[in-house]
């Protein structure tokens, strides 16, 4: 029973609840659930595309609905994205929604589901969420084949600075797969056993061909390209203008180029909002826009720049007539060009019906704008250029712009022209230098070439008119061709006025006048010194007469080859600074200050000399040493010129290197640059050019140096001169040695004379045969004809031995004496040998001479030498043959004969000394002397050359056989 009651109660409850449910269903509308959900993938954009429908909508019913979409990754429980999508929904509408995945969709499986509710307050009963749709699985890997290793996404395009997620999918779970971007390893996280993801933050642009990302396993390699584009910039400086009101030219600065390989380039589009026209531009920096023929005046142009990732735009609003940029003028001409004027003409391009242009004319000379003028022009323009300089090249240019609404000037159009010549406008600047030589004035005129602005053309010549003021009728004209800048005149003692003019092809310049008076004015003005500075030489003077028309300061370097320079000064000037780039340090400049009287006569006021910068002397004087004694010497450098030095010479320093440490009185001890110590003597007077060094030690060694000094410093310490001081006794020794030497020489002369005397006494000379008394005897005996023995007269078949008596040396031929009778004497023998040509008897003379036969006589060889018959025939023939004899004479005595003057009255002494047969002299007594061999005897004979033989060289017959001793040959 209880069970029945429980069942009944339950039935009632179930029935109640069924009735409640049934009442709700019947009273509320059906839920609007999304159906037909389809999910697709766009790998390029890494997007999931969803499309679905909502059923249960009545026709023409539109409800605002909210769809909630859930996206899970790897598994359905891993929801990574939930989004509510609100949209109005109509009947049978296909709804779309997309979602971009950060992680490449190919990396893992995605799941999608959706539910909805009505977002309409009028239907509150449908505002609850519908049921979820079933999960839709999205697995992109299924369609990718079976590559063992793949990297996703493929060909990803991102902007620079983006964060990118990539992954690799390996078909087999390999652990040692490494990935790198541009060679740099990257690290990620594992999503699944086969999938690894990497997040690349803030990627940068590397190259147009993309950034290489790759993964490598031991067996495979795969990669992808990440195309990183630069961020598309908004165009800058967007501007449009027109030249002819027919078209617009728009320009802009595109900024970075975002072009990548395999990717479409950025593109630009023009959009005009009033007309609604659009134009795709062909270029990245400019674009043409055709102006509508209906003369639209106002434009609102928008420039749109876009690429695959971004879109930028910029707009401008303008009136067409306010953007007129005219084309540059043309047909620019110059006409009526004179020395100072010209007329310029040009044309302009018309700007539609827009009439007047404002043109600007600019005149350029020497690179800068001289004149600038504005001219209103419709079609043709013209401007008169004035105040031009003659013979000057000008550039004139013109540009134009809209006169009513100025926008931009056109480009310049120009023309170059040159004005004509004109007469020189100013007188040449003339100065003079006057010298008086032998009563004449040598006037050197100088003038400076006129500047280009004054010459007004090429100066062809200068005219110099010399007018004698003392004789006005005497005028002389000199024409000096350019480019001479001076001339020299010789004038007498009269006063002259000189006119100098410059001339070009057009005319003559005004004259420059100077007057040369009788007194040239070069009075003796004492020269003063002046010190130059870096700014130049500052000069001042005192006016001497109040009536002057100006002053002139001229100057020149010390070098006479340099030209005179001058400066003109006004009458109220009493000082000036002479500046010149030509001033050089170490060069002396001489200045003269003249005042110019009203008569144009120059009077010398002052003379100055100075250096722009003094230097130390570069050379030392040549010093001569004199008066060298044992205690002093004198130094002199008188040839040293103080005027031609690089500074005013203030004196000299005499350096002396002593052998002792103490310096001489007057010297100071100084240290030289080489750290050596020296004694210095200072000479304050530059004209003192001698110095006596005293108190020196005899027989010692000194070194000295003389160097000048200026206000800057002294000369170089280059070379010291060495001086050796003699000892103090040397002069005494000289006083002794000289007389002794004289006496010695005198003694030698005496000895010589004495020796001559002794020689004459002890060893007298050979007597002269002509002075011999025998000649007088012969003369007396033979008809008083003095004669000398003729060789031909000798009888060769006999020999006479003449005994010489003491006190008388005369022997007579034919006087025979026995040998025994000659014991007390030491006779000499003469053999006269027979000759074939002997023609008759004649006197033979035999001499004896102890001077020459001393040795022979001492040894007894002066005896009769027997001649053995065994004498070798050859030798015999040699001796007996006249020819051989002659040859012997020629060979052995040709010098003697040659040296003997030939003459009738001359005598020759011939002698014979050695004989190979001399050893047989003991046989003389037993063997009378034969006629053949005389060679064994020392003979001496006098031969009359006039009769016998003039010269051995002559081939005359000789009957006298003699052998002469060379060493004893005398004359």
């Amino acid at each position: 029973m209880a069970l029945l009651a429980v069942v009944h109660a339950a039935f009632l409850l179930a029935l109640l609840s069924f009735r409640t449910y049934q009442s709700e269903v019947l009273s509320e509308p059906l839920p609007l659930t999304p159906e037909s959900l389809e999910v697709s993938i766009n790998s390029t954009q890494q997007c999931l595309y969803l499309q679905w429908r909502v059923h249960n909508l009545t026709n023409h019913q539109e409800l605002k609905m909210v769809f909630q979409i859930e996206i899970s990754r790897i598994e359905t429980s891993n929801v990574i994205w939930v989004e509510n999508y609100s949209t109005p929904v109509t009947w049978n509408q296909v709804l779309h929604w997309s979602w971009e995945s950060k992680l490449p969709l190919e990396c893992v499986t995605h799941f999608v589901r959706i539910r909805s509710r009505v977002d309409d307050a009028s239907i509150p009963e449908l505002r609850s969420w519908s049921n979820w749709s079933s999960w839709e699985e999205v697995d992109a890997q299924k369609s990718l084949g079976q590559d063992p290793l793949v990297v996703f996404p493929i060909n990803k395009l991102v902007e620079e600075g983006s964060n990118v997620t990539i992954c690799y999918v390996s078909r087999s779970p390999e652990s040692n797969i490494s990935c790198a971007m541009e060679g740099v390893p990257i690290h990620g996280e594992r999503l699944s056993p086969n999938v690894f993801a990497f997040i690349l933050n803030n990627v940068r642009f590397i190259r147009e061909t993309g950034t290489n990302i790759y993964c490598v396993s031991p067996s495979n390699m795969s990669g992808t390209i990440l195309f990183v584009s630069k961020v598309l910039e908004e165009p800058k400086d967007f501007s449009c203008e027109t030249q002819d009101l027919k078209s617009l030219n728009c320009t802009w600065d595109p900024g970075h180029d975002t072009t990548l390989q395999y990717q479409p380039s950025q593109r630009y589009t023009l959009f005009e909002s009033f007309s609604g026209k659009t134009k795709l531009c062909e270029h990245k920096k400019w674009c043409h826009w055709q102006v509508a023929p209906d003369s639209q005046e106002t434009y609102n142009l928008t420039l749109i720049a876009e690429n695959q990732l971004r879109r930028r735009s910029v707009s401008i609003f303008f009136n067409l007539t306010h953007r007129v940029h005219p084309m540059k003028p043309f047909n620019v001409f110059l006409k009526n060009i004179s020395a100072t004027n010209a007329t310029m003409t040009w044309k302009v391009h018309p700007v539609g019906n827009y009439s007047t242009l404002l043109c600007q004319v600019a005149l350029h000379g020497e690179g800068k704008v001289i004149q600038q003028h504005n001219v209103s022009v419709k079609v043709k323009g013209q401007y008169f250029l004035s105040e031009l300089e003659p013979v000057t090249e000008y550039v004139t240019r013109v540009r134009c712009a809209a006169s009513n609404h100025f926008w931009k000037w056109s480009e310049w159009t120009g023309q170059t022209f040159t004005t004509l010549e004109a007469a020189p406008s100013v007188a040449p600047d003339v100065w003079r230098n006057v010298k008086t030589v032998l009563g004449s004035h040598i006037v050197t005129l100088f003038w400076r070439p006129l500047s280009k602005s004054h010459a007004h053309g090429k100066i062809l010549f200068y005219n110099v008119v010399i007018e004698n003021l003392d004789n006005p009728s005497s005028v002389k004209l000199l024409s000096i061709p350019a480019p001479a800048n001076g001339t020299e005149l010789t004038l007498d003692q009269c006063s002259y006025q000189i006119h100098v003019t410059a001339n070009n092809s057009v005319g003559t310049s005004p004259a420059s006048i100077i007057v040369i008076s009788r007194d040239p004015g070069n009075k003796n003005v004492e020269e003063g010194r002046i010190q130059g500075t870096e700014d130049g030489f500052s000069l001042s003077w005192k006016p001497q007469s109040g009536d002057v028309i100006g002053y002139v300061v001229d100057w020149s370097p010390q070098d006479p080859r340099c030209q005179l320079q001058w400066k003109n000064l006004g009458p109220n000037t009493t000082s000036t600074v002479i500046r010149s780039d030509a001033f050089r340090p170490g060069i002396r400049y001489n200045f003269r200050i003249y005042e110019i009287s009203t008569e144009r006569i120059a009077y010398l006021l002052e003379r100055k000399t100075g250096y722009s910068q003094e230097l130390a002397p570069s050379e030392n004087p040549q010093v001569a040493v004199s008066n060298l004694t044992s205690h002093s010497f004198t130094l002199s450098w008188k040839d040293y010129s103080t005027d031609s030095q690089p500074g005013f010479i203030q004196g000299y320093h005499v350096y002396l290197k002593p052998k002792v440490e103490q310096c001489h009185p007057g010297f100071e001890k100084v240290a030289l640059s080489d750290d050596s110590v020296c004694c210095q003597y200072k000479i304050d007077n530059p004209e003192q050019k001698t110095f006596v060094v005293e108190n020196l030690q005899p027989e010692s060694f000194y070194e000295f140096l003389v160097t000048p000094y200026t206000s800057v410093g002294e000369g170089p310490h280059d070379t010291f001169t060495k001086v050796t001081i003699p000892d103090e006794y040397s002069h005494v020794l000289m006083r002794i040695i000289l007389p002794m030497s004289f006496c010695l020489v005198l003694l030698m002369v005496l000895c010589y004379l004495t020796s001559q005397w002794m020689k004459d006494k002890c060893y007298p000379d050979i007597p002269d045969p002509y002075k011999s008394s025998v000649l007088s005897l012969i003369k007396y005996k033979e008809n008083h004809h003095p004669t000398i023995m003729n060789v031909n007269d000798c009888v060769p078949d006999a020999i006479e031995v003449v005994n010489k008596l003491e006190g008388s040396r005369i022997q007579f031929l034919g006087a025979r004496k026995s040998l025994t009778e000659m014991e007390f004497t030491k006779p000499a023998y003469l053999y006269l040998l027979p000759t074939e040509n002997y023609s008759g008897p004649g006197p033979c003379i035999c001499f004896e001479n102890f001077t020459y036969n001393q040795a022979a006589s001492d040894s007894g060889s002066c005896g009769h030498v027997p001649v053995p018959l065994k004498t070798p025939p050859s030798q015999l023939a040699l001796l007996t043959s006249p020819e051989n004899l002659l040859k012997s004479l020629e060979q052995n005595y040709v010098n003697s004969s040659g040296e003997s003057p030939a003459g009738e009255n001359s005598l020759n002494y011939v002698s014979q000394l050695a004989s190979p047969m001399s050893g047989d002299k003991e046989s003389l007594p037993t063997n009378p002397p034969g006629p053949a061999l005389c060679s064994e005897y020392r003979t001496q004979m006098a031969v009359s050359l006039g009769h016998a033989s003039p010269s051995p060289s002559e081939n005359s017959s000789l009957s006298l056989v003699t052998l002469l001793d060379q060493g004893e040959h005398r004359r």
């Binding site: 541009e182 190259r207 061909t209 290489n212 990669g223 992808t224 390209i225 390989q261």
Partner: protein
Amino acid sequence: MRAQLPRRVLLSLVLRLLFLKPVVTGSCSGDDQELLRQLQHQVDFMKDSSRLLDPYMHIQGLDVPGLKEHCQERPGVFPRENALHELSRRGFLQTLNAKLGHVLHRLTILQQNLPKVQDFGTVKRYIYGIRNNIYCLAQLLPGSSETAEPTQAGTEDSPPPPPASDTFQSKLQGCQFLRGYHRFMHSVGRVFHKWRESPSRSRSRRHSPHRALRKGAHRMQPSMRGKRLMPRGQLSQ
């Protein structure tokens, strides 16, 4: 800077190439040794990887460790050297001509993808010169009155295919292709070298170049005797 020197060298060589007789005069030289010498020179020039491969790798960013190791020649794209040696002279010339046609086609694609790389255009003009010399050399083979016609620049190309979806693989494939091309030209150079050093060379100098080539051709591929050399566009590998 790196590409300037090869570019300059390329330019000078192209100028020299332009003065080759076949190109300028439109007629072939009958001197087979001169043609062989020119071909040898051209092929030796093209085997240098600095002409194409190195600039390509640099501009593609493939010259980094980890990538350049994978820029290796893919087998089967170009014939191996031993296969070239086994070909008859006519067959060799046909193969070379065909392969150069493929290379021209591929270079055209690379040139369009990389318009800033001027080396592609230069090398293409150079290849035209090589093919003209091949044509002239083939004229010296027997039965060559209707062989391949000389190549004119610009007539070779067909429209390039669209870029590969996987640009990375496309880069690598281009790299591998160029490496294979340089290797192939190296092998071709060795074949030409062998031709020049073959005994027929001396005989040909003493007698006739036609005879020498004919003799070599008969020895290597007798079956080619009497066959017509196909026009250049129909040459097959």
